[in-house]
Symmetry: C2
Subunit: 303 residues, 2 copies
């Protein structure tokens, strides 16, 4: 298969695939592992210094989509910063209410924008030549940065709730958000263990890759839902129409229009990321393979 | 490619693909159309009465996932009905506040559950044998039912807002929700025109299929975000802790736990649907092709 994140599923097929007489995962896994072991080591470990298909596959639509993705990501971070500095007093890490303002900024920056950039990293043609390992490290590094931003963003809201004696984790927004971060942390730890540690067995990678791919897209979907519900919740609480002369949310004052537009921008960013990831012809060409033919995970270098 | 909805993207590759010297869409389209025209008509129009690979590909995990999907879908509909009858007085189509209660029920049933069932229809092994056309009609019919439910659900909330002099479409929830329905209606109309009308040109189908697939997954993502923010919003408004003795939302009274769980259930349903759709080995086998090899759209029957 090709999952939403675009990587190869071991259940997918090509002429190089094992017999498909059984879909039972363990049987398929044994077949794939046998096939990999039977390959000549030289063939398996071939280091490809140049990918001749790079120029062929780096198309104008891909560059336009990546540019759109970058612009939308920067706009999302700028938008959430402007919203919280313009209408909510800016930022501070003390017991004033300003600590809360870090929460939306860090969650949007980490769980959506840096996460999205990390996810599309392999789609940047610059990363297609040479060894894959440095780009795998960069992918893991970007995701770690995203995770750290998200965790600090969670600290901001937990501490703010504690200061103001508000119970934590009661709203559906918080349930979805905390699940996103928990799944993201699990995904990152398992991903590093399985795909970066040299000692991890090939069989484990074969089993985990489709789950890694699907969970990656699922976490982005959860993050979008958490952002939409969080912005909505914040505007309901902030724009009551009775406090310091603000218009109510239902009258769509400038802050409401701005933050709603920010929410729409976040949604569009997420969908563009998923579009880039789902386009198979924009995937990193694997060494020695046909340009667009499916290559099982076990034939990849450094996988 | 294989998009999130799992159907074939024309840019994906197999040995039957046209030369990949250019990724420019129009060039690719011309190449694909030329290839299709050069095929023998008999080969192109072959009607396959039996699919020998059906038994091979209908695995236990697929059945378990479809069963899980069905159970989660029924639980979502039951849950949203119980929530609105148990805690909000049930249903009526008059000027009482009870008309609003149709809104969550119809949106969850239409835009999430029936939509999800319609999307995974081609993954049910029962639909794999024989002509594809009846199942395409069933897919379009299920999506029409989903669309009608969603539109009636929108009428309920618009009329409720008008009765209570509440401006429509001010919250981010409503922006995301109305965009979902608008995109869904567009997707349905364009889908019927392009993929069901016999007069629609092949070139149009080739262009639209990857967009149809990506937009299908995007609409489900938007629907999930709309449901999460809608349930969150409703609980904030309903559980203020000052009206008729209810506990506030922050104290997590039984209604909050129930509706939050309903939201979590909707999210899980959506992710299971996306998982089923993204698994290439669970796709409907196309006639005459290798079991899992990529087959260009133009070689499909009734496509």
């Amino acid at each position: 298969m090709r999952g939403p994140l675009g990587a190869a599923d071991t259940a997918g097929g090509s002429s190089a695939d094992p017999p498909l007489g059984s879909d039972f995962p363990l049987t398929r896994l044994q077949l794939l592992t046998q096939q990999w072991r039977s390959e000549a080591p030289a063939e398996r470990n071939t280091e490809v210094k140049s990918i001749p298909t790079v120029a062929m596959r780096s198309s104008v639509p891909l560059y336009l989509c990546l540019l759109l993705c970058a612009c939308l990501g920067v706009a999302c971070v700028a938008g959430v910063c402007v919203w919280n500095s313009q209408w909510h007093g800016g930022f501070a890490w003390d017991d004033s209410g300003l600590k809360f303002n870090w929460h939306p900024v860090l969650m949007v920056s980490g769980l959506v924008v840096v996460y999205g950039f990390g996810a599309v990293l392999y789609r940047v043609p610059l990363t297609w030549g040479g060894d894959k390992l440095p780009w795998k490290l960069a992918h893991a590094g970007a995701m770690l940065l995203a995770l750290v931003l998200a965790v600090v963003g969670l600290c901001a809201v937990f501490q703010n709730h504690a200061t103001n004696h508000i119970p934590p984790l009661y709203s559906l927004h918080s349930w979805v958000g905390i699940c996103s971060v928990f799944l993201f942390a699990t995904q990152w730890a398992v991903g590093v263990g399985a795909f970066l540690l040299p000692c991890s067995p090939v069989a484990l990678r074969v089993l985990l890759k489709p789950l890694h791919v699907w969970l990656g897209a699922s976490i982005l979907t959860l993050s979008i839902a958490a952002c939409v519900s969080g912005i909505n919740e914040k505007l309901i609480f902030a724009l009551k129409g009775t406090v310091n002369g603000t218009l109510p949310y239902s009258a769509l004052p400038p802050e409401a229009v701005f933050a709603n537009s920010l929410g729409a921008l976040i949604v569009v960013f997420g969908l563009v990321v998923l579009r880039i990831l789902s386009n198979r012809s924009w995937e990193r060409p694997e060494p020695g393979g046909q340009d667009t033919a499916y290559r099982p995970l076990l034939q990849e270098e450094n996988e």
